[in-house]
Amino acid sequence: MRKIILIFTLLLMTIPLAAQQELALDFAKANLAYRDGQYAQAIADYERIIAAGTESGAVFYNLGNSYFKNKQLGKALVNYARAQRLMPRDSDLAANVKFATAAVVARVEPTLSFVDKIFSGYVCFYTVNEMVLILGILFGLLGLVHLSGLYWNWLARRMVMTVLGISLGFFAVGLGVKMNLEKAASIVIAPTSARFEPNEKATIYFELSEGQDVRIQASEGEWLKIQRPDRKMGWVASAAVERI
């Protein structure tokens, strides 16, 4: 199943071979810089690959590592989160995210509801593209079973169609939840204060540590209205927060 998904995905998002070779060279250079402890150089090289309009889980993962080693915790977590969107089941990435998250000072943890817990299991297991592809395949199977039932009246087709239909609904809701979660997800990249109003003179509501995950609710000029996982909301300067 995973192989099929991978083949389909690759077919759909092919990048010219020559361009790929050039990017692979940049990637190798960046890896060398990282090995030599030149993290700033590694960051510049990895960022160049992304600036070329391409991305991969490994590039974001390595970029996150480089930022972490360069003492930029917030930027590291931003790139780990981007990597998670592309390779959510990577165990190295999960370990690094856990380690880097533990370094966030006074991090406010999200409180998950029962429904969130049910969905977060498989929502975090797949990428958006994988979920779309699975939905497409489920839809196709549903169609095939339906049509086969028209021409060959096999007994289990109703049960198979029910199972496929429920799976389709479950994945569709999961995809909705995932897209909603990813839409506004952001991370604080520099310690900042959240204020009651979008201006420097407004009263401070709470402080935000570097690496704290927040959700962007609205924007006004150079200010963003953010929500902490404990649902407290405040206005912060947009330069202090980066969208995932």
């Binding site: 590039v59 993962y61 839809f139």
Partner: protein
């Protein structure tokens, strides 16, 4: 008689004890400190309006009357003393107020000098009070703006807040006591909200329950609500705290009910002090303090211990280990507790490191008010272990401006070896791979991020999402169309098998086309008889199929009855009638027919079929 005596005796005992209690309390009054305070009912008064001066002596049994010195411009008169005795928590306190009425005789600023009261051979002196006397009506008359300003100023004297900290210089993370005092005088204040204040660069604890009390300020006795909280600076440099703001409702008299006020200006624009006969009205006001500047320094590097915990303040550090007698591989629980007045969030526990002697598990840390507790499992790996090493907790004491280290331990342990056949109880450690006892692997886990990826993996376009990809969408639409098409085809086929009328109708032109082709062949072979047979059969079967009638029952008359004949159709039916007659003539009477006539008949048969296809 005996009962009466008994009751009298009982009452006497009660009275006796009450008297003893009062005597003890009276004794305690004498023992308390004596203070003297002078207060006035107002510090700003109009010419000719009397105000009250009270010299209050607390803690004295007997207070002699005193005379105010002569003050030019003020005339005073002693009204007499008033005594108040209160018992709170069994402690009796007594205060005596010497009251004077003072009448201003001219405008200007006057100072009521300090009053000295001799009690038990000692002199107690109050503080001097400054009084401002203005012209009659000067407090609430004149132009509107002037009135507002005067009145606002008067209200600011009656209710205001003061923001203060215990000190103006501190270190990063040092706990600082913050106080916001709300002063109220001669006002009915309700629904006092918790204050808010600017605190960029500080972490702020939540406010405790406010304390209530009294305080004399500039000769005026204020009711005070004091809000306490601890703040912790997070940045170095010159930081500003405040202003603090506090909202409250005040109860005022008002004759008009439609007034609204958002602040001092609007509040007094209504000229509410003009009419004291009106009803009470609640107004919400916001009072604001001045801000204060604080200088925050970084912690000194000199003498900074390598294991500095990050704690700034005064802390207690306790540590226990249990049990102290175990077998190799048995877990010990180490409990550490740090308590103090500093910012507990910034405090880290001393690290217990694994070694050849001990395996250390990740600790479980919990935090409550003013304390942080760590519980950690430690496992002795061999029976040579005699003690858990000493652990030091280092913090910075801002009072003495130096780093301090509190050490706990070493803790003596008795570790006995495992007997033969006995297994280690440690979870997650492979049994049988140990170095010392045959049971435990020595293990030291470092902590860092994992290494980078060597391969780039599948590259894709930035922000590529499948559901927006044209190829994917087209594929999906194509599949849906195929699905729909097959389903419609199935429905069509199903209808053909169940609806014979439709099936015959749809079958009619195809069969007619085939039959005409056969007739055409006979025409070409000039086989007159077979040609007319074929033409007759073609038309009869076509019309039978078309109108779902038995082929043998097809005649022009039958069709006329079946169809509602129109003008054009009448001509067609006449032609049909002619063809049928011609066919009968050839088939049954062996009539001679020319080839041109056969061609004409063939043409007419085609036209008849076309006509019915077009119109029915």
């Amino acid at each position: 008689m005996c009962k009466v005596v008994q009751r009298i005796l009982n009452h006497s005992v009660v009275i006796f004890f009450v008297l003893i209690a009062f005597a003890v309390m009276a004794g305690s009054v004498g023992a308390q400190d004596i203070t003297a305070v002078a207060t006035v009912s107002a510090t700003k008064v109009e010419l000719g309006t009397a105000f009250q001066l009270t010299v209050t002596v607390n803690g004295a049994d007997a207070v002699p009357p005193v005379q105010l010195p002569k003050i030019d411009g003020l005339e005073s008169r002693y009204l007499g003393p008033s005594t108040r005795v209160s018992i709170i928590n069994g402690k009796m306190s007594r205060s005596t107020g010497l009251m004077f009425t003072v009448i201003p005789l001219k405008t200007g600023q006057f100072q009521i000098p300090a009053v000295t009261i001799p009690i038990n051979g000692q002199n107690y002196t109050t503080e001097a009070i400054t009084i401002t006397v203005v012209d009659s009506g000067g407090l609430n008359s004149g132009p509107a703006n002037g009135t507002n300003q005067n009145s606002a100023s008067a209200l600011r004297d009656k209710i205001f807040i003061v923001l203060s900290t215990a000190k103006r210089e501190a270190y990063v993370n040092e706990p600082m006591a913050l106080s916001i005092k709300l002063f109220m005088s001669d006002l009915d204040v309700k629904n006092v909200q918790y204050p808010t204040f600017e605190h960029e660069g500080f972490v702020v604890d939540s406010f405790e329950e406010p304390l209530r009390g009294q305080q004399v300020l500039g000769g005026v006795n204020y009711q005070v609500m004091e809000f306490h909280a601890f703040i912790y600076p997070t940045r170095t440099g010159d930081l500003t705290l405040g202003p603090a703001k506090l909202a409250a409702n005040i109860l005022i008299k008002n004759s008009r009910g439609d007034r609204q006020a958002d602040g001092f200006g609007d509040f007094f624009a209504d000229d509410i002090f003009d009419n004291f006969m009106g009803r009470y009205e609640t107004k919400t006001i916001m009072v604001e303090s001045a801000n204060i500047g604080l200088k925050i320094s970084d912690l000194p590097d000199e003498g900074k211990p390598a294991d500095f915990s990050g704690g700034v303040g005064k802390y207690k550090f306790e540590m226990t280990v249990s049990p102290t007698a175990v077998k190799v591989g048995d877990p010990l629980t180490v409990r550490m507790r740090i308590a103090g007045d500093g910012n507990m969030k910034s405090v880290t526990f001393p690290l217990l490191k694994g070694s050849d002697d001990f395996k250390v598990y990740d600790p479980k840390i919990s935090q409550h008010d003013g304390e942080k507790i760590l519980e950690q499992v430690v496992i002795p790996k061999n029976d040579r272990v005699t003690a858990l090493p000493a652990v030091g907790f280092s913090y910075f004491d801002p009072t003495d401006q130096m780093y301090r280290t509190v050490t706990q331990g070493p803790f003596a342990l008795t570790v006995s070896p495992l007997t033969k056949g006995e297994e280690a109880k440690v979870v997650g450690i492979p049994v049988g791979d140990s170095v010392e006892t045959g049971n435990i692997m020595p293990e030291e886990l470092g902590r860092d991020i994992r290494f980078i990826k060597e391969t780039m993996g599948p590259l894709q376009k930035r922000h590529f999402v499948l559901y927006r990809d044209v190829k994917f969408i087209l594929g999906f639409v194509f599949f849906v169309l195929i699905w729909l098409g097959l389903w419609l085809h199935f429905q069509y086929m199903k209808r053909l098998t169940t609806d014979i009328r439709l099936a015959r109708r749809l079958h009619a032109p195809r069969q007619a086309r085939n039959d005409l082709a056969v007739a055409g062949r006979f025409l070409h072979e000039k086989d007159v008889r077979k040609f007319y047979d074929s033409i007759f059969k073609t038309l009869q079967e076509y019309l039978g199929n078309k109108f779902h009638l038995p082929a043998g029952a097809i005649s022009v008359e039958a069709l006329k009855g079946y169809l509602k004949v129109k003008n054009g159709q009448d001509q067609t039916l006449a032609t049909l009638h002619e063809i049928f007659n011609e066919c009968d003539l050839v088939r049954f009477a062996s009539g001679q027919v020319l080839e041109d006539k056969m061609k004409s008949t063939f043409q007419q048969a085609q036209e008849i079929i076309d006509f019915f296809e077009r119109n029915y």
